[in-house]
Every structure is written in C-alpha cells, then in structure tokens.
C-alpha cells in the first residue's frame, strides 16, 4: 500500500469506526441503530427538499473547513473560526439591511466583502498577536471567540433594540426563488456557488502562486523559511487574515442566505468547531474539505430527522462527529495497524 493510499484510508476508516461506535452507543442506550441510520439517510436524501436543505447546510461547513484547513497548511491552528464567522455574520447582516437603494450588483458583493473583512480583521488580531508578541494562536483565538460572541450580541441589541436585526434587503440576498422552487421550497441559496469558488481560490492560492508557496514553507519549517529570506511574521499575519476571510464568508452564508438576519446567541453556532473536524477529515486540502463538509453537513442536517422518524436524540450525530475527530487525530495507530496488516499479507 502506498503512502497516498494510507492517507486516504485513514479518514475513511475513521468515519466507519465512528459510525460503528455510534451504532454501539445506540444499542447500549436502548435505541435501534438500523432504524436510526435509515432515518439519518432519509433525513439527508429523502426527497428534493431534504437534498436542498442538506446542500444549504454544507455551504457554511465548506467555508469554515477551508478557514481551518488554510491555517493548518500554514502551520497555524485557527480555533477562532467560530468567532470570525460570527463577526462576518453580523457585518453581512448589518450591511444587508442598513444600506438601502443600492442595486443588487453592488449591494450583494458589498455585503459579502463586509463579512470577509470582518472575519479577516478578527483573525488578523490573532495573527498580529502571534507575530508581534508570540501569543499562541490557540489561546488568543479561543478568547477572541468569546469576545466576538458578546460584542456581536451587544451590537445587535444596540442596532435593533430587540434580540434580532431587521431582515436584509432583497438586493443583498443570496436567496433564489428558482433554486427554492427546484427543491420544493427549501432554503437552498446561491451561497454554494460562493463556497465552491472559494474551494478553487484556496487551491489556486496554495498551489499556483508564489505567495502560497511561501505560506506553506512557513508552515513546514519556520526557521528554514526564514533562512531562505521569507518574512515569517508577515506570512503568519497574512495566513491568519486569509483564513479569517473564509470564516467571515461562512458567516455571510447564514446572514444573506439561510436566515436573512442575525439574532442574539446564547452560545456558539458550532459551525466553526465543526470546521476543525471538516478540515481534519479532508487532510487540509481544498478538495478534501469539500468532501469533509459534505459528510458532516449531511450528518448534521440528516440528524434532525432522527427524533421524529426513529425517536433518537439528534445529539447521537454530534457524538459520531466527535468520535470521528478522535479517530482521525489518532491516525498514528490506524497507520500502524494498516502497516502491520500489510506486512502480514506480504509475509504470506
């Protein structure tokens, strides 16, 4: 087995293990796993409506996954995607409702840009702190997540006086009556196109530009990159900022597509943290993220069908996702097992 095959096998085995352990949990808790997984399947692919909603759910997951993956590739662990996404969501919603009278061709890109800028700024803070004061990005982004959550809530209260902003104007909306009628009036919107474009952007940036090469080089080995004459600090800040752009756009999907407003949140959306799972499963490549997001987005949306159809709490899917992260993170053991397996086979 080649290294490449093992790299692809590890996530697949992790997913299978996650589903098996999930089934065991269901059996132990007195639920029927077969019914459970059938309900999950129908919740994802049951009819055109659920397919539309599943794709809608996948959209922000792609962007959150790209944000985490991009940072990982450049040697940074961006746990702050959640906060950056909230800032992007808030900014997009504000621009979406506050600027009246703009034509769609200006208003929609403007709102998307605002979200990207807000996310980028929030990530820039962590990048700057790392480059200038060597503050570890894991801790600073966790703290920034909470700061973002509370600031966003305070802004919403300040702008609207209630617990959610006004609806965004039609000129800033990603909604599409055509897509909705195609999928039996699901909330599917044009955001999926934006997300797919960003998958391409990340690939192009990392694989086809000098800047991307430098960012990867810093991620591989800081000292070597510095010795080769690259400005490590500048690249750290840039990498964080670009990661924040993806995250901010993820927030825009919720503001301009799914919901059309932003409301006060008691806790995190979870999309940012699931983005870590997506990136990990996708081995931090753009295409891998697309697959990871499709899997986790589908699981998350399909889970909503489980309480009704099989009387199983939706949280079982969160358990499965957490287990998959565990297994992927412990890939070392799976690798060893695969190599042992390979050796015994060759021995015969």
């Amino acid at each position: 087995m080649s290294n490449r095959a093992i790299n692809i096998l590890v996530p697949i085995i992790s997913v299978i293990l996650g589903l098996i352990v999930g089934a065991i949990v269901m059996v132990v808790s007195g639920y029927d796993p077969v019914n459970g997984y059938i309900a999950l399947w129908n919740g994802i692919f049951g009819d055109v409506y659920t397919i539309g909603e599943t794709i809608r759910q996948i959209t922000p997951y792609i962007l959150a996954g790209l944000a985490v993956a991009f940072a990982f590739r450049t040697g940074l662990f961006n746990i702050g995607v959640e906060g950056q996404l909230i800032m992007g969501w808030t900014a997009a919603a504000y621009v979406g409702y506050a600027f009246e009278g703009l034509p769609k061709i200006i208003h929609l890109p403007f709102a998307l840009l605002a979200a990207a800028a807000a996310g980028a700024f929030w990530a820039f803070i962590a990048g700057f702190l790392k480059a200038r004061f060597s503050v570890h990005e894991v801790i600073s982004t966790i703290m920034l997540n909470y700061i973002a959550l509370h600031i966003s809530n305070a802004l919403i209260k300040f702008w609207s006086g209630t617990d959610r902003t006004e609806k965004i104007l039609e000129s800033a909306s990603l909604r599409s009556p055509w897509l909705e009628s195609l999928t039996d009036y699901s909330r599917l919107h044009w955001g999926i196109i934006v997300a797919l474009m960003m998958v391409f952007v990340m690939w192009f940036l990392l694989e086809r530009t000098t800047r991307g090469f430098e960012l990867k080089a810093v991620g591989f080995n800081k000292n070597a990159a510095e010795y080769a004459g690259m400005n490590v600090n500048k690249n750290i800040i840039l990498a964080m900022t670009i990661s924040g752009i993806f995250a901010g756009l993820g927030g825009a999907m919720e503001a301009l597509g799914t919901f059309g407003y932003v409301s006060i949140k008691g806790g995190f959306t979870g999309i940012g943290f699931d983005g870590i799972a997506v990136a990990l499963l996708g081995a931090n490549t753009p295409l891998g993220v697309l697959f990871g997001a499709s899997l986790f987005g589908s699981l998350k949306f399909g889970a909503l069908n489980m309480p009704n159809a099989a009387d199983i709490p939706t949280e079982i899917v969160s358990i499965i996702i957490a287990l998959i992260i565990f297994f992927v993170a412990s890939g070392y053991v799976i690798r060893i097992a695969l190599e042992k397996f390979k050796k015994t086979k060759e021995g015969k």
Binding site: I139, S140, I276, I316, S318, L323, A329
Partner: protein
C-alpha cells in the same frame, strides 16, 4: 447602596462565581505542567455538571443533606474517566492534543445532552435539583467586623474547598517528589525519562487529576449557580478556567487569584446594574473583560507568562 454595602455584596458573590473556575483551573495546571494541553476542560466540566445534577436528582431521597457532596465525588470519578479519552489519544496514540481536546469538548456536550434526552423523555434540560449546597456562617470568624461579613458569612462549603484545593495543589506541585517529577516531565520529558521517571505514567496521572478537578468544577457550578443542567449550563466556563490558568502563569495560587478576579468580573457583569458608577459601563465590557485580560497577559503586558516547555508535544522515546 453605600460603598461598604456594595463590597459586602460583591466580594462574596465574586468568591461564589470563582469557586468552579478555581477547581477547573487547578486541573488545567496539573495537566499542562505535565506537558499535556487540556483544551477539553470545557467538555469535562459539562460532563461533571451533568453527572452532578443527575446524581443529585436520583439520590437525594436516600442521601439527604449529603447529596450535593456525594454528587461532587461522582462527578470527579466520571470526569477522571472521561479525561482518559484525552490521555489515551494524546499520550499513547500521539494525537494532536489540541484537536483531541476539541473533540472532547464536542463529545462532552453531545453525550450529556443525549443522556439528558434519554433520561428525561426527550426534554432538553433536567429538572431543578431540590438539594443544593447550603450556605453557612463560619463560627467565630464571621463575627470579626468588616472581614467577617466580607469573607465568612453566608458562604458555600465548596468555596472553602476550592481554596483548600488550590493550596494543596501548590504544596503537591512544589513541595513533593511527585510534583517535581510532574514539572520535570512537562519541561523536559527526555531528561526526566533518562532519570528513570515514567513519562507516560506521570502524564496519565496528571490528565486524570485534571479531569477529576474539572468534573468537580462543573458539578459545583451546576449545583450552586444554575440548579439544573441544559445545553447552556457551562457555556464557556471551561475556557475561562483555561484563561485563569494562563493568567495565573501555570501556578496553582496564581490560577486561584486569576479565577477570583474573573469571578469578580462575572459578579459585576451580572449585578453591576444596581451599583453606582458600574451601572454606567455597558455590561458587555465587563463580560469580555476576562478574555481581554488573558490576551494582554499572554502578550506580556502583565508580566511574561511562559507555558511549560514541552506542553503540547507528545513524548516519543528516542526522538530528539
């Protein structure tokens, strides 16, 4: 309210809010000192809170007044067992500690909510407990003028326990052979290994201590502050405990001090509306204060905070 009244009100509630943070932050100190980053404290606290509440609800008929304390022990045991997941993945399987910690957080809340829905017929939160921790006056000490009402009247036993645990942790980490080994393993595992210390064993013990303490922290929070368990019960307390640990510079007493300070910020953001001057500050500033201060502490504005050297890296024998 007069200044003194404000003080008599704010200081006890600061200690009240700080107690769970102290437990969890001390837990964090143990695990990071051994070289394992425990981002999963939040998830363990969630499990602790869940176990504490459920244990309390199902046993108070039998155990009576003793229930909340027994619930603490249950939460400690389950917390330590739950943290084994982190230990196995991060120490034995060489998984990325931060990623595993994130998985632990996701798993904690998912398992807790799944079980709540299973136990309480699909409801998203538990019933309220009827047997909470009692408040009491410390004999003699509470009669001292000024200091008495400030620190010794109407306090929770858990607050005293928290401070005792912090002092005990300081003693264990700095004054015992075990503590020396713990710190050695976190600073330079290879050197420690050469001297015959079992790095893997030390790290397992440290992670389980941190799990037990975080479990207690969660159970204290649920049984003193919220009284039930739902999806938003813990809501960031674990991360705030990590913040306290860093602000306290990975030192048990420092972590306790930081936790008390964060407790003060929480008390002010909740009760600030009725206090002169404070009520003019928008509450959001008080809410984000602990997080902002942590960033400043890390940036070196409040003295340089240095993490244990080997924290975050799996130890692989023979690898330089």
């Amino acid at each position: 309210m007069s200044f003194l009244e404000v003080l008599y009100f704010i200081v006890p509630s600061a200690i009240f809010y700080a107690a769970p943070l102290i437990f969890a932050a001390i837990g964090g100190v143990f695990s990071e000192r051994s070289g394992v980053v425990n981002i999963g404290i939040e998830g363990i606290m969630v499990i602790g809170a869940f176990v504490g509440i459920v244990f309390n609800l199902f046993t108070f008929d039998v155990l009576g007044n003793f229930t909340p304390w027994a619930a603490l022990i249950a939460a400690m045991v389950i917390g330590a067992i739950f943290s084994l997941l982190l230990a196995v993945a991060a120490i034995s399987f060489r998984a990325d500690q931060t990623v595993t910690g994130v998985a632990l957080n996701l798993l904690g809340i998912a398992v807790a909510l799944f079980s709540v829905k299973m136990l309480f017929d699909g409801k998203g939160q538990t019933d309220f407990i009827s047997e909470r921790f009692p408040r009491f006056d410390v004999p003699f000490l509470s009669d001292i003028p000024f200091i008495g009402p400030l620190f010794f009247q109407d306090i929770y036993g858990t607050s005293i326990l928290a401070i005792a645990v912090a002092i005990l942790a300081w003693f264990v980490i700095y004054k015992t052979p075990f503590g020396l080994r713990l710190r050695a393993v976190g600073e330079h595992p290879m050197a420690a290994d050469t001297m015959g210390i079992n790095v893997t064993k030390m790290r397992y013990i440290a992670v389980m201590i941190s799990g037990g303490l975080a479990g207690i922290g969660g159970a204290v929070y649920a049984q003193t502050i919220t009284g039930d368990f739902g999806h938003a019960t813990i809501n960031g307390q674990g991360f705030m405990a990590i913040a306290a640990m860093i602000f306290g510079k990975w030192h048990p007493i420092g972590a306790m001090g930081a936790a008390l300070f964060f407790g003060l910020a929480q008390a002010l953001s909740i009760a600030g509306g009725s206090i002169k001057y404070i009520q003019d500050i928008p509450p959001v500033f008080l809410t984000i204060l602990p997080y902002v201060i942590t960033i400043f502490a890390l940036a070196g504005f409040i003295g340089k905070a240095n993490a244990p050297k080997a924290s975050g890296q799996p130890y692989i024998k023979g690898k330089r």
